[in-house]
């Protein structure tokens, strides 16, 4: 059955163990950064940083809210990156993980602009696109992803999709009784069901998520027609040529008549 990850932002304390665990397990190097006036660092995902925590401060009246958002690949079922990837380097593995095959990837960067969550990053060092693999080597050996294992408050859970949905729904009921409102299980159905679902205690935009994630129009409109249109253009051209060629059989240069 399909596996899924649940990121419960109501439990996340922003300790960023997931960021370090991802780097440790995948042996990604640390980056040189500077303090730009916030705890959040590094400023963006990168070929070395496949997941990070965004710190969002909200001030309504005198009470302050501090939201922590987990930026990572959401492993969509309808994955825009998988769809646009010309060499078909991106594929679903273990029924959930959307993984870029580093051998096949030719660094065309198409997936980077296609991703609704702006996750893949181009690595100039080896001309490849890099992103979170949901620890494909761990989960295909029966372990749970490194970020799920390390998360102390249990904000990141991994298991059968049905269990994750049940877990999230139970947590949302508990939070409702405690008076927490605008709860949402983001990813239950979006894009065919995200492999990484997010339990939110604020509006999606507050966290920086698109409210209704979808394929970029250019990708959706275009990707379905790319191949057939090429065939039409090539075939149609040849057809027109045949018609003209047959039509002009018996054409004599002079017959065309003088000017």
């Amino acid at each position: 059955m399909a596996k899924a990850m649940l990121v419960d932002l109501s439990k996340c304390i922003g300790c960023r163990a997931c960021q370090v665990a991802c780097k440790e397990w995948n042996q990604n190097a640390g980056e040189k950064t500077e303090n730009t006036g916030t705890y959040e660092n590094p400023p963006d995902l990168s070929p070395q940083t496949w997941t990070k925590i965004k710190f969002v401060e909200q001030n309504s009246g005198d009470n302050v809210k501090w939201l922590f958002r987990r930026m990572m690949c959401q492993h969509c079922t309808d994955a825009a990156c998988e769809k646009v990837c010309p060499p078909k380097a991106i594929s679903h593995l273990e029924t959930t993980a959307v993984v870029i095959d580093q051998e096949k990837c030719t660094g065309c960067k198409y997936c980077i602009s296609a991703c609704p969550f702006n996750v893949p990053r181009y690595d100039a060092a080896d001309n490849k696109a890099k992103k979170c693999t949901l620890c494909i080597d761990r989960i295909s050996n029966g372990l749970i992803p490194a970020c799920a294992k390390v998360c102390a408050p249990g904000a990141v859970q991994f298991g059968e999709r049905s269990d994750m949905v049940k877990l999230a729904k139970a947590r949302m009921d508990a939070l409702k009784t405690k008076g927490v409102n605008d709860l949402r299980l983001y990813g239950e159905s979006e894009l065919g069901g995200l492999g990484v679902m997010v339990l939110m205690t604020a509006a999606a935009e507050d966290y920086g998520f698109p409210d209704k994630p979808s394929f970029p129009v250019s990708v959706n409109l275009w990707q379905d027609y790319l191949k057939p249109l090429t065939i039409v253009a090539g075939g149609g051209g040849i057809l027109a040529v045949l018609v003209s060629f047959i039509g002009s059989i018996g054409y004599k240069h002079k017959q065309e008549g003088g000017e």
């Binding site: 922003g14 640390g30 950064t33 303090n35 705890y39 401060e57 302050v64 501090w66």
Partner: protein
Amino acid sequence: MGPTFGRGAMTQSWIDIKNSDVIMVCGSNPAENHPVSFKWVTKAMENGAKLIVVDPRFTRTASKADIFAHLRPGTDIAFFGGIINYIITNKMYHEDYIKSYSNASYLINPGYSFKDGLFSGYNDKDRKYVTDSWSYQTNDAGATIKDATLQDPACVFQLMKQHYSRYTPEIVAKTCGIPQAKFQEIAKTFAATGAKDKAGTLLYAMGLTQHTVGVQNIRAFSIIQILLGNMGIAGGGINALRGESNVQGSTDFGLLAGSLPGYNNLPDAAKHPTLAKYKESEVTKTGFTQNRAKWLISMLKAWWGDNASADNDFAYHYLPKNGAGFQKSGYTWIALFEAMYAKQIKGLLCWGQNPAVSGPNSNLETAALEKLEWMMVADLWKTETAEFWKRPGVKPENIKTEVFLLPAALSYEKQGSITNSGRLIQWRYKATDAPDKAKDDLWMVDTLYKEIKALYQGDPNAKFPAPILNLNWDYGQEPDSKMVAKEINGYTVADKKQLASFAKLADDGSTGCGNWIYSGYFVGDGPADNKAAARDTKADPGGLGLYPGWGYSWPLNRKIIYNRCSCDTAGNPWNPQKVLVQWDGAKWITNDVADFGAKDAATGNPITPDKTASAPYIMLAEGQARIFVPKGAIKDGPFPEQYEPVESVIKNPLSAQQINPAAKIWGADKDKLTAFGSKICPIIAITYRVTEHWQTGSMTRNLPWLTELMPEMFVEISPVLAERKQIAHGDWVTVASARGTVSARAIVTERLQGFKLCTGEPEVAGMPFHYGYTGLVTGGPDEDKNYSVNQLSPHVAEPNTGMPEYKTFLVDVRKAVT
């Protein structure tokens, strides 16, 4: 907590937090500084627990809180006093609990008084109290007079009631800056744990202790917990979230001035010139401390072996005796560095510590290092302490101190045990070799001793070589931590057999034991004898998460101390769902090891609950928790009283005494203080830690994965202050106190706010203390800048422990002139 309950350690274990109904976080930031503790806070909250966070700053812990309030730094006692007052006026205290388990009913001598901020017996010449007047009334037979009805005006309960009646919600609002409605909500929520079957716990850390009223902060909350009956029950207690992996162990082993392993006091020249005098004052008639002589003598046997025998008082005179210390201010941290600064200290052995960044007023303390003749540092990196002679702003050629820097091994490059702050001892294994020449500290200490011993053997006219030459020190050619562990655990001298526990320690020299509280953790050579290495996770009696099969909690693997209080006098648990111990009519059912006499040691048959009902706090002579602390156990008052920090912008709303009358203040030339009312430094500064760095940062500022997360020194200020000082987000600013300056990036955030309810609406600036001038990342781009915040903190200390006041002093924040 020592003076109130008898032991200075965390009263619960980390896992037990999940059993709490209300968790108060004050003076700590567990989500950031002890993130994994939040696994258990989250579990508790999932079972419906409420989280209250009261802090000058909205931290990551606060982001998960049900109730949050900004508190002006240094006013914790006003806040706790307000809660005590609330509990008493609304009668939410747990009456039977305080009647049988605390000294609420004791009558106090009329000599005791409290007027306008001062307790009786104050001598302002040497800023010390004479504490004789703080004593219980005793009848001519010497027994304490008690009034079980708690009505007698001289009883502790009434004195307390009268003392805290001054802490009204208005005063709390004016002093702490907490609006009354919010204060009522907090007080009501926490006081609800006074109910019999409810448990409330406090998670505190340096935020409460690093003040000139540090001990009294904890005392104040201890009184709350006694009144609400939260001590000794599952999910209830007071928890010091300690910062270092083995700070509990290092404190247990007496690495503090005036302390010996097992919390026996180091002999004091005035009080215990001889062993007999030591027994007279340290060994009590009642309570478990009547065995202290056995513990000390067993230690002396372990240290000096056959050279310690009855006829030479077991080599008691080999131990150095405490004197008055530097200018009569003792030998604690600040006194030590003041003595070094005054050239009295010539040599320093610095084992795995980085005082150049962690010590207060580091401009004075690093200047003190320059006065040393020689110094040895054992560490994993080139730390600021090791390279103080080439710190920014000094010329190495003018500094004559010799420095030996020894490369040390890491926690998993050696084998041994450490104790977490829940008193749990766990064994660690060696996974890989230390880099090249680096050695573990066990080897270093062993080798250093052997070299010193050789020198003393070779010099006939050395000064009093006996304690060195006669030391019982043989842990093998390459020292083996297991042999050391066996000595710590204790053994019978005759046949060197390991003891099962401290119960069998004797004061006749027949047993040797390095540290009595650890006795029972290493009981032999067999695989199961190393209790610290036990890894059974199945046993979880009562489902409380005690896990007695995992590791070994001192003493005797007891998880929750004072657990006799979890039952009423007849032995029925207050909360039937969370049973630690229970009297089933015939015997005690013990899910946790009993912290009282459950079975008669000789006959083995059970002791009925009524016998132990009157003394659940076995480490105190009176056996009952002290709301009122008599005589010398505390130096600055039997009841906690609110005083302002030494550097404050507000007049003490509670009494005429501006600061703690017994606070210790030093007067070296670099000890300048910002006077009350000065306009130069009007902003309250607080220092703290962040998740991504640890203590002085020497360990974490050399790891790329962590420097990436927190690269630079920063100061957090409110938008109001930023606007007033024309500081924008991310600007470099200079923060200055009377003692030094530091540069930092500005984080302008609503998470910090001025205290509108306090006079003058003071602002607050928060800074982490992890940065310095060596390492992969020092805290900023400039090579010639010292980014350590402790250049600003003052040399003033709490009277009982000598703890410096890091958590609140005065600074000014200015845009950096570039």
